[in-house]
Each structure stands twice: as C-alpha cells, then as structure tokens.
Symmetry: C2
Amino acid sequence: MDRRQRKTREAIFHAFTKLLSQKDFNQITVGEIIEVADVGRATFYSHFETKDYLLKAFCEELFCHIFDTENDDPHGHRHIFDCDGSDSVFLHLFQHLQNNDNNILALLASQNNDLFLNYFRANLETLVESQLSLFERPTNIPEAFWKNHIISTFVETLKWWIACGMKETPEVITEYFFTVV
Amino acid sequence: MDRRQRKTREAIFHAFTKLLSQKDFNQITVGEIIEVADVGRATFYSHFETKDYLLKAFCEELFCHIFDTENDDPHGHRHIFDCDGSDSVFLHLFQHLQNNDNNILALLASQNNDLFLNYFRANLETLVESQLSLFERPTNIPEAFWKNHIISTFVETLKWWIACGMKETPEVITEYFFTVV
DNA sequence: ACACTACCGAACACTTCGTTCGGTTATATT
DNA sequence: AATATAACCGAACGAAGTGTTCGGTAGTGT
C-alpha cells in the first residue's frame, strides 16, 4: 500500500480516536475529522464512503487487535485464548479493556453508539460460543436465549464498570460477571 | 389547554408514532413530521424545542401510561402493581408490551434509540426497586450492580423477544427472565 | 364583541453532507 | 534520473436539514 495512503488512513483514525475521547460519535462531523487529521475533504471521502464506514473500518481494526485469533502477536501480549486452567478469557478481556487501547472505553461509554455496540457484540459472540461450556445452562431455556443473555450480561457489566469509574479490579468484575450468569 | 394546542400536539404525536413504525428515530426529519401531522413548521417548534424534546415528551406520556402509579385507570386495565400473590408485575409488563401500545415495540427494536432506552430504563428502575425482594441477591456482589443487572436483563430479554418475532407467550418469556436472574 | 393567542407559511441564515474537477506532489518503476 | 501513475489538495457546488423570524389569518375563552 502506498505510503501516502497509509499515512492518510492513520491520520484519520488518529483524529477519529482523539475526537471520540471528547464527544459522542454522532456529534463528530466530517469537517472536524479532516481538520484534526489535516487532510483534504475529497481525500477523506476517497478513503471512507461515509462516517459510518469509517466507524466500521475502525471497529474492524480495533476488534482484530482485541479478539485477534492469530498467534503471531508482536506486542508480547498473551493471546486472549491462551488461558491456563482456572484462568478466564473474560478476565483477560476485562484486563485488556482496562488499558483503554484506542479509546475503546470512550466508545463504550458514549451515547448513540449502537453501531459500535453491534460490532462489539458480534465479536463477543464468537468468544462466548467458544466458552459456552463454562456456563451451566438451565434446561428450561433455549440455547439462543442463553447465549444472548451471557453476551448481554458481559456488555452490561462492562458498561456498569465504566460508568462507575472502573474502581473495581478486573478480577472483582470478573467475579461479579460469573456470579450473575 | 386550548383545543388547538391539544389537536396540534396530538397530531404531532400521531405522526411521530406512524413514522416510528416505518423508520428509525434518527432517520425521521422534522419536515416529515410536520408534513404527516399537517402542521406548520413554526408550530412544531413552538411545541417542541427540538426533535429530541419531542421524543422526551412522547416517552413521558408513554411511560406514564405503562408505568402509571395512579389508581384511576379509565381503560379497565388492571393496574400494573395490582398483582395477586404469585402473579408478577413483569408478566403484566410483557403482556402489556405485547399489545404494542403506541408502537413502543418499534422504538425498542430500532437502532439508535439510546435516548428512548434511557427513558425506558429510568422508568424500569422504580419498578425493579419495588420488586427487589423477589430476587435473591448473591452476597458477594453490590446491590447497585445487582439492580443494574436485573434491569439490563429485563431490557435484553425484551429485545431478544422482539428480535425473534415474539413467538413465545408472555408467560414463557417471564419464565425465561426469572430463570436467568 | 373582544382581546388573546395559536397557527400558517414563506423566507431566512446556518450547518453538514457528499461530489466534482483542475492542478499539484509524492511514489514506484524502469 | 526520467517518467507514468496515483494520491492528495482545496475550492466550489447542490442538496438536505435545522431552527428562527415575522406579518397575516383565524379559532378560542370570557
């Protein structure tokens, strides 16, 4: 990929991230993004069809990082699926999120973030499916409902944690999460 | 209140309801509302500061109906809090919602409805608080987290129900709800 | 009958969006 | 080093939506 393309794309992502930490997605205008990114208007639209597609591309890169199923992690992170015995991928996830990579917390806490939440839930789904055996499903409810409930509970737990200022440790939050599901 | 005011307000609410059944809140423009309501532009803005305030007023009337704590119900509904013994206010609520009064289901199912969901949750909070004794709180989690979890689970159960086409009866959904909390 | 006030509707300034186009500059290739 | 290519710039544009203003009209309550 052309170096200019890369630079432009990164500048836009960077500006987008910065703006997301300041205001809600819906309040951000394309004009602001290109101003902060210092990029021409036409250039922005040659990279992203609309602002929604920018969010989509942003989420894909973000979740690719967080939920990465590849093994070649250059940053020395333990892979999210590399959990030994009693360890939990959910604990890993809470720990990872606590670092607030790419201002993901701002996105989670903001209003009018349905689009983002949908992407987040879609990525969570794969994770939860692989961990379904951890949870004992009551026999009188369907599996689809059960899976949805686990995903919802994780997201709502995370939102509650953020809304309360993340005072609890990831370990405690993980305990809360497992207690209610 | 002036009859004209009442008529205008109702016309706007009615148009808003109709449009909500057709598209998401954010897709609806003021221009469409006043066209369907057959009302002048200035008139709309003399009633509602912005479209968001219209939603707010709309929600207040809607939830006042659903969560009404008054005793003088002219429609012959049993009051939502009038439950005998094993009966549940949550079952009542599911039943009530199934009737889709004022297209509340469209609002719940639509995207970008954070504003609406916030109002809905705020109203649910009072209800849940009055019913907290029904749920056995695990001792290792804080009450605030527990309450939030119950509210979230109710909302997510409702959303799942709607998303799946509401095939289950309110009784079954109520059973699902109580099973997971 | 009267004063009041809600309504109309056209026009306005303003913001944002997404596109177009001619000109400029960086990049990869030979 | 020369060249073709493709990305970038930036100004301008039309379209759509927002919220306001204002003079004129007509329904309402007393």
